[in-house]
Amino acid sequence: MDRRTLDRLASIVGEAGIVADRMRRLAYESDGLTLEREMPELVLLPRDTDETARCMRVLHEAGIPVVPRGAGTGLSGGATPVPGGVTIGTARMRDVLEVNASDRYAIVQAGVVNIAISRACAKHGLFYAPDPSSQKACTIGGNVAENAGGPHCFRYGSTTRHVLGLVIVTAEGEVLDLSHPVADPDGYDLIGLFTGSEGMFGLATEITIQLTPMPAATQTLLAIFPSLDAACESVTDIIAARLEPSAIEILDKLTIQAVEASVFAAGYPTDAEAVLLLDIEGGELEVETTVKGIEPILARHGRLELRSARDAEERERLWAGRKGAFGAMGRIAPDLYVADVVVPRTRLREIVRLATDECTKRGLKMSNVFHAGDGNLHPNISYDRRDPDEVERVLAAGRAIMQACVDVGGSLTGEHGVGLEKQEQMKLLFSPADLAAMDLARVALDPDRRMNPGKMLPLRACMETRTRPIPGGMRAEEARP
């Protein structure tokens, strides 16, 4: 990057908003998918829409690619830097701008952490419903970009159902104000289009989200099963019986053991083959009848034990265990590959078995956690990125699992996005014409394809991305503002 561009950027965000030295930039080389790494040319941390827009204009003039980044908890390489690109992080845009309890919405900056929204509106008896397991760290901007889901999205729907408005800064540095405190504004649903765009349509700086009233009653059940199959089958039956828990999660034995060894030990029995975790929410009566309906189904499938959380604290603990599951796998190996496939619920068992086989035959250690209600499963494969052969086997197993899911009518990603990781597999689902159509939507907003280039759309299928390394690169000394 030339000196002048750098100086202009530095004068916009100030010293605290720029990360230029090589050592610190290295901390940004990956998101939660540590397999993919790239050094950003520069990292900018603007404070608001205006600073972001001014930076983007400078970068537009200089023709430099941009990668938005929230908390970097993504699991598909969405926030992995691109060669010669600038990473723009939202970590200093953390203000809750407005909470409107009577109209049930909040306006927040993009870098606000998911859980902070619920904290900010708790006193009004409201919360922000989508609850990714990373909710204590991930940002609302990242959630919008990935259309994140979470255990309770079975009842409440994923992020896209909760976004009312956006302020977007486009690749050219234009500010697009799509804020609406009401659902379903007139005209094309640009907000719907943006949600799930993985940072390729622009950078969201402010987000208006819908708040949800806390349910009058909640009951959390933990059912312990002698087999994973039995747990899966009860889910199918619960749903077939038109019973509607708000969250339906399954954890397998290896996951249970890792969680129980962690600070989030929730009291799951470590000798169980599987546990089923259910939240039933609603009015008192509704909760009671739903629980009454569920109990015999669990019994019929041979549950060994059924626990019901006695109070909010125990409920919190049971869920904290589930939400710590990914991290807890750090006890097994230094890295974790999280597949994110979705299949019709009735095919869950079949796919779990297949995934297990694919891993076993490659000598890989796999554990399972899934949002069973949505048919979204996460076969988690433990590995060590220092072992190239193991990495190859992990990727091969991942590909085999994705292929199998597509074959039974499922999809590649339930919530983590395509990013770098599942790019090639997009071709399993979409024809070149489909992909070209997607690219058209993108160039409408980003004609130069400079926003998060080289992600999501497979490279050869439709077009060449125009990333080019910046001539000469940038040396640490030069980069210091």
Binding site: G32, V113, S134
Partner: protein, 438 residues
């Protein structure tokens, strides 16, 4: 991996991090900067990169390691069980040995760690000088010359009078029949600045039927050394501490449980086993020592003692309502020792105390041992949001359980011109017994 990088980073521990990011939001330095390299995940990533020879441990690296408060909040939320505190102690020690700081800084380190802290006489002299400077107004005059550090010093709580700075007696009998005895750590700075807390500690123990014994010649446990890159010094002091306390035994010859009213010291002493793991002669004694170390609140909250204490409190109580009170968790109590409910349970035993919630009570106040002296600006920035939370809580009394935090809060509250009294948990208990509270 080169020899050099290997000695800089606890590589095996760094591999425990799975890069999930769940620790980010809890980290005070990430909160302040929003910079990944100032977050726990970022720091571990950089450590690992150093160990793998991908980057050099340059000045920027050292700065990010220095910036960390070692509050260990990241450990409390890490599902992978990363032992961040231990990793940071390792790296700081290596950096301190390798990097050659200027002669003045070296002298200050040597004076502080090797001369003053381990010696009762030197500590007393230092604090006396400080008190003198306060009383004569010399500090007020000198403060502006010292910049921010001077201003910190100027808002330092008043050094107690000489009469108050007396050590505890070798034994303080239990009130009524003695049920058991415990060894009490007096600490290094504690008798000089917070002798009243030590007295309140043995007073509370007495009310719970516990005789308190002290190790007369013991001074420093070495926690500050370990946190600030002097592991060798820390090991020497650990051995001395173990020897001093192993000598305190009950009638049957069994060593006494050790009660600690300073969270930072307690957390460190509980981990002596790790500190001396490579020392075959001391390893086992160190582990046994760690296992008998108890925080003040942890010790008294155990059912039998709590019952006895409650009875004593009931007898004494003029159960007049106290001023609105809140409790702030010292990092090395909640994150370092996992002690959260015990102090609250003790406060619960005291008639008339109504506890208000303090938002983010588990986040660091910026004291962090000697951090407030080493990095005064960062320390104050960290405290700012805590002061806001305190203001919002409406409390007029803030209870803590660590001398460093007590100092930090007292100075901060004074600078912010707020009207909140800061007390140690032991003081609240002792006042309730003796009715000298409010």
């Amino acid at each position: 991996m080169t020899m050099d990088s290997e000695t800089l980073v606890d590589y095996a521990r760094s591999l425990d991090c799975i890069h999930c990011g769940l620790c980010l939001d809890t980290c005070p330095t990430y909160q302040l900067t929003g910079r990944e390299s100032s977050s726990p995940r970022g720091r571990i990533h950089l450590m690992r990169a150093v160990a793998e020879d991908r980057i050099e441990a340059n000045a920027d690296f050292a700065e990010e390691m220095d910036f960390c408060l070692v509050c260990r909040h990241c450990e409390s939320v890490c599902p992978a069980g990363v032992e961040f505190g231990a990793m940071m102690e390792f790296t700081r020690d290596a950096l301190a040995t390798r990097a050659r700081p200027g002669p003045l800084a070296r002298l200050a380190r040597w004076l502080g760690f090797r001369v003053v802290l381990p010696s009762r006489r030197w500590l007393r002299l230092t604090v006396t000088l400080l008190g003198l400077a306060q009383r004569t107004g010399a500090l007020r005059i000198a403060a502006p010359l010292l910049g921010l550090r001077g201003r910190m010093l100027a808002s330092f709580p008043r050094v107690p009078s000489r009469a108050e700075r007396t050590p505890l007696p070798a034994s303080t009998p239990a009130q009524g029949p003695a049920r058991e005895s415990a060894a009490v750590l007096e600490g290094c700075v504690m008798p000089e600045l917070y002798g009243r807390v030590n007295r309140a500690t043995v007073r509370s123990l007495a009310a719970a039927g516990v005789e308190s014994r002290c190790a007369p010649d013991h001074v420093c446990c070495g926690a500050l050394h370990a946190h600030n890159g002097d592991l060798a010094g820390a090991r020497t002091l650990a051995r001395g501490t173990i020897a001093a306390f192993d000598a305190l035994v009950d009638d049957s010859g069994a060593p006494l449980p050790i009660v600690v009213n300073s969270a930072g010291c307690g957390a460190h002493m509980k981990e002596y086993g790790r500190l001396l793991a490579d020392d075959p002669e001391w390893r086992e004694r160190a582990a046994a020592f760690g296992a008998r170390t108890r925080d003040f609140a942890e010790f008294l909250a155990e059912p039998e003692r709590r019952e006895r204490l409650t009875a004593a409190l009931r007898e004494a109580a003029d159960s007049a309502p106290t001023r609105p009170t809140t409790y702030d968790d010292p990092c090395h109590l909640c994150h370092g020792q996992g002690i959260r409910s015990e102090p609250r349970a003790l406060l619960d035993c005291i008639p008339g105390v109504e506890l208000l919630e303090l938002e983010d009570a588990e986040s660091c106040c910026g004291s962090a041992g000697i951090y407030s002296l080493l990095r005064p600006q960062d320390s104050q920035d960290v405290l700012d949001s805590k002061l806001a939370a305190l203001r919002a809580s409406g409390a007029e009394v803030l209870v803590t359980a660590n001398p460093g935090c007590q100092l930090q809060w007292e100075s901060g509250i004074r600078r912010a011109a707020m009207d909140v009294e800061v007390v140690h948990l032991a003081e609240v208990v002792a006042r309730a017994i003796d009715g000298s509270g409010d």
